[in-house]
């Protein structure tokens, strides 16, 4: 526990850690202000296909909707911000040379690497929760509250979640998002144990995520057949908490797949780190 605390102190004492938070704050504030200014246009585009047949009233463009809208881009910008720290948490010790002070202490390498992984989790969770809370608080301030209407692109699918039910669903969605992002963080973490600087792990992780996303979305049957085997396919499983009914089985399998990825990547990192010769 002490080790985790020290790792947390170290991580959160660095300005690099706050890049992610600052970028998220910037994205959320800009997006929500622009959405507020373009509310009519957004509503028109959003509801155009539905308003031919339905009268729609009430606060559709509310803080919850805006939160879900911004969260949709989670798998695009969050991995990059997460790798900034996850890709650096181990390698920075090698870069700065502090690894030589750290690993000659009584705590075993496996305890140290586990503490670093837990800290990575804290950072990832902090970043996702920060995104969520900022979206919600600013969203509710600018757009007010209301029921959440989710429209799935590509098929007629309207999901109506009553206002009272939204907070708990959002909480689950954020937990799921943290779980997803931990899979990304785990890749960066593993690469960080292999590298002596953070550039490689950051670029490497982003390359994996982007390549997998592109492969998974390429409109060719061959690539579509690969999709179930790509972890990026499951990164947005948090959205299932905004389905009705909640597809628990699908959520369970997605969470299991991502969880297995995270565990496996961590175990590899653990194995690498405990056997690694510190030559730097």
């Amino acid at each position: 526990m002490k080790l985790v605390w020290f790792e947390t102190v170290k991580t959160f004492s660095r300005w690099r850690t706050y890049i992610g938070f600052s970028v998220i704050a910037l994205i959320v504030i800009i997006t929500e202000v622009v959405m507020r200014l373009s509310a009519d246009e957004i509503l028109y585009r959003m509801l155009r296909s539905l308003e031919k047949d339905f009268l729609i009233s009430g606060n559709v463009l509310n803080g919850w909707f805006v939160t879900a809208f911004i969260m949709n881009s989670l798998h695009i910008h969050m991995p990059f911000l997460i790798t900034l720290v996850a890709g650096d948490v181990v390698s920075s010790e090698a870069t700065s040379g502090t690894v030589r002070l750290l690993l000659i202490r009584p705590p075993s390498r496996s305890r140290i690497i586990t503490a670093k992984y837990i800290t990575t989790f804290f950072y990832t969770a902090g970043l996702v929760l920060f995104l969520g809370l900022l979206c919600i608080l600013l969203g509710l301030t600018l757009f007010g509250s209301g029921d959440l209407i989710i429209h799935h692109y590509g098929r007629f699918g309207i999901i109506y979640i009553e206002e009272a039910e939204i907070p708990i669903r959002m909480l689950f969605a954020f937990i799921a998002a943290i779980w997803s992002m931990m899979a990304v963080a785990s890749i960066a973490f593993l690469l960080s144990t292999l590298a002596e600087n953070s550039v490689g792990p950051i670029i490497g992780t982003m390359a994996v995520v982007v390549v997998f996303l592109v492969i998974g979305n390429f409109p060719l049957d061959f690539f579509r057949s690969l999709k179930p085997y790509l972890f990026t396919t499951y990164l947005t499983f948090w959205q299932r908490f905004l389905d009705d009914p909640i597809p628990w089985q699908q959520i369970g399998s997605s969470a299991a797949i991502l969880g297995l990825h995270s565990i496996l990547l961590f175990l590899i990192a653990l194995g690498v780190y405990t056997r690694k010769d510190i030559k730097s």
Partner: protein, 228 residues
């Protein structure tokens, strides 16, 4: 010569019959118009239950305002979806001047005399859909309607209650068969354009707490238009 006389006679007879038939079927719409001529406005609480594939929503409630000939407004604190076609009871649509009317059959509905009429809009620019109505001709109530236009089909069954001197719906069951095409703007990166699809299902609307002829002002129907 004889042939020509017969032809003219036949033509006169047919057109007279047609005119008589028009006049005869128009009386049903006349009666309907007379029945509701004193209806100046109404306010009603509505509750909608959707039973449609792809539409997962709990029952929704709202207050509905109506003023003839076609002013309407829905007011709800919560997000509210309401079928545009057939959800708002408006007998003033069925003006005899606006339609070519054909009597499809004389029939019974709940053991009462009824007629089935087909209404073709005369001005197809103004009104695109045609209607089939089943009218209870004893009480001059529209009991069923079926409207179709382009790709849309809506069928409605109406139950009535008495509010002041007016028969107004207590329940309308709508069967919807609607086209759905995704708007391009909502597409995300990498998502292919989806094929148009059909949305089918049922919407059950219950009406309660009517307030009739309460003198609704026109300005309450004004709502700011959205910029596009």
């Amino acid at each position: 010569m004889k042939k020509r006389v017969w032809f003219i006679w036949f033509l006169l007879l047919f057109s007279a019959g047609w005119a008589f038939a028009q006049d005869d079927t128009a009386r049903y719409l006349d009666a309907l118009e007379r029945k509701y001529s004193a209806l100046k406005d109404y306010t009603v609480d509505v509750k909608v239950h959707f039973d449609m594939e792809g539409f997962n929503a709990p029952d929704m409630q709202a207050r509905l305002y109506f003023k003839p000939p076609d002013k309407m407004k829905v007011e709800s604190k919560k997000v509210f979806f309401f079928p545009k076609e057939g959800g708002i009871f408006n007998p003033f649509v069925f003006k005899k001047e606006a339609f070519d009317i054909r009597l499809l059959e004389e029939t019974t509905y709940d053991n009462r005399k009824a007629v089935k009429l087909k209404l073709y809009p005369k001005d197809t620019k103004k009104m695109k859909q045609s209607f089939v109505l089943i009218l209870d001709i004893e009480s001059h109530q529209i009991r069923e309607f079926h409207t179709s236009s382009d790709e849309r089909e809506v069928k409605g069954v109406i139950d009535y209650g008495k509010f002041k001197e007016f028969d107004l719906p207590t329940r309308i069951e709508l069967h919807l068969d609607l086209p759905f095409k995704e708007s391009f703007e909502m597409r995300e990166f990498g998502q292919p354009a989806p094929a148009p699809q059909r949305v089918t299902g049922k919407a059950e609307i219950s009406y309660s707490n009517y307030r009739v002829n309460s003198g609704l002002r026109d300005d309450i129907f004004e709502s700011p238009k959205r910029k596009k």
